[in-house]
Amino acid sequence: MKYINKTASRIIDIGIALSIVLFSSGILLLVAQGGAPGVFVIGSAGIPLNLNTSSYPLAKAVAHPSGITLIYAGLFALVATPISVVSLLLYDFVRERNRIYAVIAAFVLLAMLVAILLIPALLR
């Protein structure tokens, strides 16, 4: 478990550092470029309230790289951090042949993935 604790701690360090760098560079790029395709940041007198993760889909952010793409990448890095830690715990419980906790960790991981990937797809 000690090794796993250190690895989990390192995963968190990387996830947070990556997301902070991506968030900060995303904002700076949006300001420097004046916005993103179809989004005017510098031209608007306030925060554009019609811009959100639903109105600016991921596919558009990938097809037209901009500051929003970087912010989305930061969001993925951040959400992936706890998922990675739970996956690591699952691996450790399986390796230790701790059946009860392997099932528990698998359930939590599955519930997270269903909530993040499947339910949003069903709601579309």
Partner: protein, 290 residues
Amino acid sequence: MRVVGAIIIILLLEIFAAGIVGGLFGSLTGLGGGAVVVPILSIYMGIPLYYATGASLISTIATSAGSARSYIKTGMANMRIGISLSIGTVLGAITGSLIAAYVYSQQLESVIFILFGVVLFISSYLELERLLRKKKAKRIRPDWSTRLLGLNGSYYDDVTGKRVSYRGARWHFAIIVMYLAGLLSGLLGIGAGVLKVLGMDLIIGLPIKVTTTTSNFMIGVTAATSSGIYWEHGLIQPLIVAPAAVGVLIGALIGSRLLPRISGKEIKILFIAIVVILGVQMVLRGVGIA
């Protein structure tokens, strides 16, 4: 053009500053950054509540993971107990985020404003009570969950210089509280750490150092679970979430550095009182007075 450019830069800086204040207060009061940043963004900056809660939810992942990392490394956060209780929080988070999406789609923001204010009151009271209570070691009688789930562990206490062993029980009751904590987290975009700590402290009977550190690990798992539904319903605004999350993380880091230097309870009580005022404002906004 330059003027409007300057306006947006100032607004982004204001969101960043709100994040710092939220992270700082959240860390000093023990209520978490989200509990403070949502009222600041929605009441004082006029940002729609759904974007404020979306920004808070994402900030919560960053701050909880950041707070948990060192305790996970030293083993003070009990990952086994944390993952077993996460069953309740993730299921609660799914329910809560679906309700949030429905409530916002029906334009019932006022319900969230009122509920948020009430949760701030209750959380503040519980945190205050914990601060003033004289802690006595509890003896919890072991039950089936103690044996089956191995609800035990030990940690090195820096203050006493001794290794502290502990064991817990009544997991089946705690999981209900965890479901409720997850539901509030998904519904309001907060960590609901106070409720998680309460469940582990009063029901399972774990030492407070273990409950607070384990709760931080669980908050990240819970908030990440809600993120997909928030994303799909457009509750996340990139220009709000990015500066807010970076700000909250910086504020929480400053708070964690300041915390050991604040010895008097009076200062913490003052901070909690400010959070209560924010709670009053949220309720007033919800009933249409403010």
